[in-house]
């Protein structure tokens, strides 16, 4: 009997755990180690942040689900990886520290035959002075990165909108550090906040402004995209800017927020100039880094550099050779997500280290990087986890003739539905497909993508779809009857 350990129970970790548990949970031991006792459907946090949904609607407890699919759940935080074992044993293991109220503070060594790193990101609020510290978000701004953060954001938003009944208010929404990702979540949030201000009849008293590290609205860390719309291939810049213009939302792009204080922030633009903005309410996405796992060899010497990149994300089968933007190729991107040094370790979702950004890398004259990091959330995250799970199943069942399943982001499309307003009749959503996620100019010399399979539109059905996806993915994650036929 082999032991497979999965670190993390987010989109990728949970997808891998349910597939492995269902397929081989009766013959082998599957262990999930995650600090959170509940699964969070993160795409709907944007609605928790405006009060459209309650926190309970985007969360469910993991333990009962894992009992159904023969997965052993340990509510603990992974601390270190020991891929060569220790002096007295060759068996690789990880060390964990329990956060489960019954075992709080206890540490344990968990041996593994195969390890999946699906820890997701560390929300690095400490990177931006005033945004927060090592313990999390600070008091000046809000976030929608977790259900608890989003609940807090909703309270602060409602307070601000109440004040707007009598006094002018200013809202800033976007990203903080110059290397942030996940602009899509902030994009949805700003449009939903704008709709809420309109619904409450206070829009004229609320100035709403976008601030982000993107070179233009609609870059999304994917170097932008050209969407097939009404016979045209329209740039996401025009699409995004037009939507903001229609809603009266101004924007600051190319920005790295360098400091946050009560009611004001400082930022640097790509030209090196420093500016400041005041705010009454601000939601800023923090920088994402790896969770800070350490690695040690058999003798106990630290080998973190061998497993992880400096940003804390795990090295996989990507080409990490430093190259200029012009030299980037689709083939740089990983296909099997297997660690090159230790073949029984895989990474899935945000935890794997991309070879480089997708957007063109830029620095201000002061040396500050202002380049959106590539997105690896949602559909790509689940698809990668599925491929990794199937690779491990093959390694266990087929021995020498085992095959690894590929899932390159340069050969993978994604569907995305971004909420722009809520309501069964008044709702709006931007729905788009993108293929491939990573541009491939060798195959698609024009825009880097297949414009027939990169398509988008805005309308009421986007809201219906976003709502349907919420219930569908929670249904799938709860492993209810027929869950396997729902695509990840």
């Amino acid at each position: 009997m082999a032991q497979i350990v999965i670190m993390g129970a987010g989109v990728a970790g949970h997808a891998a755990a349910t597939i492995l548990g269902d397929a081989i949970g009766a013959e082998h031991k599957i262990i999930v180690v995650a600090p959170n006792s509940h699964w969070n459907y993160i795409p709907s946090n944007v609605w928790v942040g405006t009060g459209t949904m309650k926190k309970e609607e985007v969360l469910f407890p993991l333990r009962p689900i894992y009992e159904q699919v023969n997965v052993d759940f340990r509510q603990a935080k992974a601390i270190s990886i020991h891929p060569e074992g220790k002096e007295e044993s060759d068996t690789p293991f990880i060390t964990v520290e329990y956060v489960d109220p019954d075992r709080q503070g206890e540490t344990e060594e968990i041996p593994y035959d195969y390890l999946i790193n699906a820890t997701g990101p560390k929300l690095n609020f400490a990177k931006t002075p005033g945004l927060g510290d090592e313990n999390g978000i600070g008091e000046h701004t809000v976030s929608i990165c977790s259900a608890d953060h989003a609940t807090h954001a909703h309270q602060r938003l409602d307070e601000m909108l109440e004040r707007a009944r009598s006094t002018k208010q200013k809202v800033l929404i976007g990203t903080s550090d110059g290397t942030c990702t996940c602009q899509g979540a902030a994009f949805e949030y700003i449009l939903n906040v704008e709709q809420k201000a309109r619904k409450m009849g206070v829009r004229d008293n609320v100035e709403i402004k976008w601030i982000s590290n993107e070179p233009y609205i609609g870059d999304f860390g994917m170097d932008g995209l050209h969407l097939g719309v009404a016979g045209y291939a329209i740039s996401s810049k025009l699409f995004g800017e037009s939507l903001f213009a229609e809603r009266g939302i101004h924007w600051i792009t190319d920005a790295h927020v360098s400091k946050v204080e009560e009611g004001r922030l400082e930022y640097e633009l790509i030209d090196g100039t420093m500016h400041e903005e005041s705010f009454d309410f601000a939601m800023l996405i923090p920088q994402f880094t790896g969770v800070g796992l350490k690695a040690y060899d058999k003798a106990g010497e630290e080998i973190t550099d061998e497993l992880f990149m400096p940003n804390g994300f795990m090295k996989v089968d990507a080409d990490y050779t430093p190259k200029s933007y012009e030299e980037w190729k689709a083939g740089d991107w990983p296909v099997t997500y297997q660690n090159p040094s230790y073949k029984n370790i895989f990474a899935a979702g945000i935890a794997f280290a991309p070879p480089h950004p997708i957007s063109e890398p830029r620095k201000s004259p002061n040396g500050t990087p202002i380049t959106p990091a590539p997105p690896r959330t949602g559909m790509p995250s689940a698809t990668i986890a599925e491929a990794v799970a199937h690779s491990i199943i093959s390694l266990l069942r087929d021995g020498e003739s085992a095959k690894l399943t590929t899932a390159s982001m340069a050969e993978m499309g994604a569907l995305c539905v971004a909420s722009a307003a809520v309501g069964w009749k008044a709702g709006q959503g931007v729905s788009f497909t993108v293929y491939p996620i990573v541009k491939d100019y060798d195959k698609y010399p024009g825009t880097g993508r297949d414009t027939l399979r990169t398509f988008g539109s805005i309308g009421l059905y986007g809201h219906w779809l976003k709502t349907a996806l919420h219930y569908m993915f929670i249904y799938k994650a709860k492993v209810k009857p027929g869950w396997k036929i729902i695509p990840g």
Binding site: L238, E241, S242, F244, A245, E246, R247, G248, H250, W251, V335, T336, K343, T383, A387, S391, S394, L395, E400, S401, A402, K403, L404, T405, T406, A407, S408, E411, M412, G413, A414, L415, K425, A426, Q428, S431, T433, Y435, R453, F455, S457, I458, G459, L460, Y461, W464, L465, P487
Partner: protein, 62 residues
């Protein structure tokens, strides 16, 4: 002139697209949106099928 169109006097908004009355109607029209959803569903299936087709099996002992 609608409020959203007044926005286009703003220098930052000058080079954007203005949705006309027909587009605004179509965005919220239930029948039009049902058709749009069916078209998006079709394109989504194409992308999902492409993803499945692009998935390869490579020998573990490369």
């Amino acid at each position: 002139m609608e409020n959203s169109e007044k926005n286009f006097r703003d220098p930052q908004f000058k080079t954007t697209m203005i949705p006309g009355p027909l587009m605004k109607f179509a965005r919220q029209c239930i029948i039009f949106q049902l058709i749009g959803m069916a078209m998006f569903g079709l394109r989504s299936i194409i992308v999902i099928v492409t993803n499945k087709r692009n998935t390869r099996q490579v020998p573990a002992n490369r």
